[in-house]
């Protein structure tokens, strides 16, 4: 009984200490009111379509009527070589794109961070590909490697005569063109992000490290990299999502060919859902890709969180 009474007393004390006056409660709702429009937009524009896509993926559309077919679209999807090849191509394309854009972006950012002359001009030049539309950029790269009159293809043929086929009609070569075009376009993004992160590194810390005898590599790997790690991880996450969802640039460069050499899962989604009109199957592809994107997001965010906890 004594224990029970004691517990009750503590409970009352806590309740009193947690008492919040009604006026304060009202003011606490104000931020929520400000957030409400954003939440509503997100619900309507993001959550609803995602949920609807999940619903569509379990149906077959006929004349505007959705017939429920359970998980048949998913079963078919994972037996379809075009989709499985698409996943493989997405992994190759995405993996290479991430490695190249992050490393090159970081390298360029380190150069620009040294406050060399004309840094602003270099940044503008770097940024042009990023603001170009995917279709314009894709068409440009397609013309550069066009087997008959492409300038770069002509140069390649003259320089490397042992390359028998034009890159554009070779499965590996066409993937190389698509990756090259994507790196060229995304490099501005990773460079700017990396440069922003580098400029947050305290100069004093680097100076004292230098005074302690740390060389350039030690300063980069032991000081700079740990500080900019959260930005780096977010950058990798965003480039990954971009790679997985990329359609316009690949489609306008190679159309997914030759054969299906550059047909990523997103291109397969475009073909199935829109060109073939198989909404259910297309929605199933989009749900799978959404799942992949979510897994990657949770993975990267958990990495960032773990680092913060350790700090």
């Amino acid at each position: 009984m004594a224990t029970a009474a004691g517990t009750s007393s503590i409970s009352n004390t806590l309740t009193q200490s947690q008492y919040v006056p009604p006026s304060y409660r009202r003011s606490a709702l104000i931020p929520l009111a400000f957030l409400l429009p954003t939440i509503l937009v997100l619900l309507v524009m993001q959550v609803y379509p995602a949920v609807y896509a999940i619903f569509i993926s379990t149906t077959r559309l006929r004349r505007g009527v959705a017939e429920p077919i359970g998980f048949a679209n998913y079963e078919r999807l994972f037996q379809t070589p075009s989709f499985l090849d698409g996943l493989k191509n997405t992994a190759i394309y995405g993996g290479t794109l991430i490695v190249l854009t992050v490393i090159l972006g970081m390298f360029l950012a380190l150069l620009l961070n040294r406050r060399i002359k004309f840094t602003g001009s270099y940044l503008v030049l770097l940024f042009i590909p990023w603001v170009l539309s995917d279709v314009v950029a894709g068409t440009m790269w397609r013309w550069l490697f066009q087997p008959n009159y492409g300038i770069l293809q002509d140069w390649l043929t003259a320089t490397f005569p042992y390359l028998q086929n034009p890159l554009f009609t070779d499965p590996t070569g066409s993937m190389a063109i698509v990756i090259l075009a994507s790196v060229w376009q995304a490099l501005a993004y990773t460079t700017i992000l990396s440069l922003g992160a580098l400029q947050t590194v305290p100069h004093e810390v680097l100076e004292s490290a230098s005074l302690d005898g740390a060389n350039r590599f030690q300063r980069f790997f032991r000081i700079i990299l740990p500080i900019i790690r959260p930005t780096l991880l977010i950058m990798i996450l965003l480039v990954s999502i971009r790679a997985i969802n990329s359609v316009g640039l690949i489609y306008s460069t190679t159309g997914g060919g030759p054969g299906r050499a550059t047909q990523t899962a997103s291109i397969y989604l475009l073909i199935t859902g829109w060109r073939q009109g198989e909404f259910g199957l297309g929605a199933a592809v989009s749900v799978v890709l959404l799942g992949v994107n979510l897994v990657l997001t949770f993975f990267y965010i958990s990495l960032v969180g773990r680092k913060r906890e350790a700090a």
Partner: protein, 443 residues
């Protein structure tokens, strides 16, 4: 007059002018008809685009109805129409369709049954029965109205093939090394993407005796006859007899023939519209000459080269001991399911099926008209059109009745490109994999 009354007066005049203009427009307006075509009336580039501009004007003059055209790219119009119907979205009143998709449309329930309309039309008895068959579903329903038929054959440079174009693939392979050694590619054609199957691969498979479609619309591509045909195709690339640009997307494959670098070209009846300018292997350029007889005003290059004896026509290549085959495709009008203006759509189709309208479209598109009265017009008695009609009669075969036509084209063309780009790939295994994937999607 005070300032105020002056302003009032001006306002009244302005309102009267606006109302007058509106009433004039209302008086002329007979309504609107929403049409989907693969022709661009807003930015006309070729004769078929210009034909549409003229047709829209003629139709408005005759009926007071305004035609609103939505331009849909040629290789997407059929699937996008189906997407619109299945999603219950923005459905046109009437649409251009390709007859080879009729099995697909039937399977999906995309089009309205036009049997009663067609069989009771004044032009029904004048319509080519073979063309009408191309618009007829397996159930016997007529789902579209054919306007022209087109097929595929060969244009070749007489300088490269002075003794005429070979008839069989064996003869071709025997002659090809000599032509290649002389610096010319023996042939160019569309080697990738779906339409490569229609233009070149399927007719070749058929000539070798391959059956590519089963009774229920399933794919039956993996058979020894297909393998034999594709061994020939692979030989074209391993021996460098066909330029690599044939595997690029789009229409770059035309360039080697247009520049006189390739001796032969797998052409459609309509190709003369697009192949301009032309440079013969002799170096002679065909570009600025008066239109040749039997061709439309835009076809000066092919027509002129033909008149000069530099360019010749020949049937498609056949298998050794086989018959040449050419796929016959019909352009057509159809009324999609869910059309909000079926009566207007039928009136528009009826307008297109007069003899003169049929001639106008056929000439602009570069194909044979489907009305016999139109086909008898002197325009279609030229050497070119006589050759086209002869090839169609002797080699023509209908499109395979795959239930998902575009998907079949995509998968088969992809398998063939894999066979070409990987010389070690097993042809039968590639065909089997593509066939299995296609059949997986059949209900």
């Amino acid at each position: 007059m005070s300032k105020r009354s002056g302003v009032m007066g001006a306002a009244i005049v302005l309102i009267a002018v606006v109302l007058g203009s509106v009433s004039v427009v209302w008086g002329q307006d007979g309504g609107t008809l929403r049409v989907w075509t693969k022709f661009n009336a807003d930015n006309p580039q070729v004769t078929s685009d210009r034909w549409l501009v003229q047709t829209i004007e003629d139709y408005r003059a005759a009926t007071g109805i305004t035609v609103e055209n939505t331009y849909v790219v040629y290789n997407e119009i059929n699937t996008r129409l189906n997407v619109a119907v299945q999603s219950g979205g923005d459905i046109p009143d009437v649409s251009y369709v390709d007859s080879q998709n009729i099995g697909f449309y039937y399977n999906q329930g995309t089009l309205t049954d036009l049997t009663e309309f067609v069989t009771s039309a004044s032009w029904y008895d004048d319509l080519d029965p073979a063309a009408l068959q191309a618009c007829t579903a397996p159930s016997g329903e007529i789902l579209c109205v054919p306007t022209t038929t087109t097929n595929f054959f060969t244009y070749y440079w007489a300088d490269v093939y002075p003794n005429g174009y070979p008839a069989t693939t064996d003869e071709f392979l025997a002659l090809a090394p000599e032509i290649r050694a002389a610096g010319h590619y023996p042939i160019t054609f569309k080697g990738a993407e779906g339409s490569s199957v229609e233009r070149f691969y399927y007719p070749l498979l058929a000539s070798y005796g391959a059956e590519v479609v089963g009774e229920n619309g399933e794919a039956t591509w993996a058979n020894p006859e297909s393998v034999a045909a594709l061994e020939f195709v692979r030989a074209l690339y391993t021996n460098d007899f066909a330029p690599q640009v044939t595997l690029a997307p789009g229409f770059d494959f035309e360039e080697p023939f247009k520049q006189g670098e390739a001796g032969a070209f797998v052409a459609g009846t309509f190709s003369y519209v697009y192949l301009t300018p032309l440079v013969a292997p002799s170096g002679e350029r065909f570009e600025e000459a008066p239109p040749a007889e039997g061709f439309d005003a835009n076809a000066i290059a092919v027509g002129d080269a033909f008149d000069a004896g530099e360019l010749q026509f020949a049937p498609p290549l056949s298998a050794p001991g086989g018959q040449p085959r050419s796929m016959v495709l019909a352009t057509a009008w159809a009324v999609p399911y869910g059309s909000e203006n079926v009566d207007g759509a039928l009136q528009f189709i009826d307008f297109q099926m007069s003899t003169q309208a049929n001639i106008d479209f056929a000439v602009a598109y570069g194909a044979l008209p489907t009305l016999r009265s139109a086909a008898a017009d002197p325009l279609f008695t030229s050497a070119y059109w006589q050759a086209v009609a002869e090839y169609q009669a002797s080699s023509g075969i209908p499109a395979p009745a795959w239930t998902n036509y575009d998907e079949a084209l995509r998968l088969l063309s992809t398998a063939i490109v894999n066979i070409i780009t990987d010389p070690n790939a097993d042809i039968m295994a590639q065909l089997q994999a593509a066939q299995d994937e296609y059949n997986l999607g059949i209900e």
